[in-house]
Symmetry: C2
Subunit: 132 residues, 2 copies
């Protein structure tokens, strides 16, 4: 039984300074939550690692959760969006190129609640197991 | 550049009552965090959905994050453990069979910070892309 869909996002060659800015990442979260009409449960959690370190963000949702981790030293950001309710596709590529100056964005979609290998999809490379 | 490892877990045919019990899931989180010497950042977040609903748990870690969502109606629980620091394998199968009476546990491992499709591994079915 499929209980939810998870989007795993890798954003490459981002602007390193943006990956250290809480407000930049918080703005990305706000845009995702607004555009997909997600509902926040409790207080979003944010942590800025010291010095030149990156940012971790976690938001609990009625629909499940949204997470990000940034690595300014590698100019990389990763996101997870796990939704138990069917949601439209968010344009990760366009939006993260704009917000983080990413040069490349990979999106992998995994259906949860079944053997994940049977339903992994990646819109940019191939689709396995039918419709997204 | 691989920036972390993510374990995606699906536990099937669990005891439905256990999936509604915050204390049961909190105990699983405590065991994972203790066994893998993970460090908690901020306050762990827990939410019990109303009535016969399940539980959502989110814990921010120095190493990234740990999440779970339970679906008593489908006797299913899913977990995500994202670690930026190399950690030993946790025995999800044995531990979740014991804690949740799961009859089957699937573990999928994804290296983050690269195109995830190139490095997805599942110890129970096949290994793609070399060592875990």
């Amino acid at each position: 039984m499929i209980v939810g869909t998870e989007w795993l996002i890798e954003a490459f060659d981002c602007d390193a300074d943006s990956l250290r800015e809480l407000t930049v990442l918080q703005s990305v979260f706000a845009q995702i939550i607004n555009d997909l009409s997600l509902k926040i449960v409790g207080a979003p959690q944010w942590h800025k690692f010291g010095g030149e370190g990156g940012v971790t963000g976690l938001t609990m949702l009625t629909e499940s959760h949204l997470a990000c981790h940034t690595y300014p030293e590698y100019r990389t950001a990763t996101f997870n969006l796990y939704c138990c309710r069917t949601r439209p596709e968010w344009n990760w590529e366009v939006n993260l190129k704009e917000a983080l100056s990413a040069s490349d964005v990979k999106v992998t979609i995994i259906k949860r609640g079944i053997d994940p290998q049977s339903e992994i999809t990646n819109p940019k490379s191939k689709i396995v197991g039918g419709e997204i």
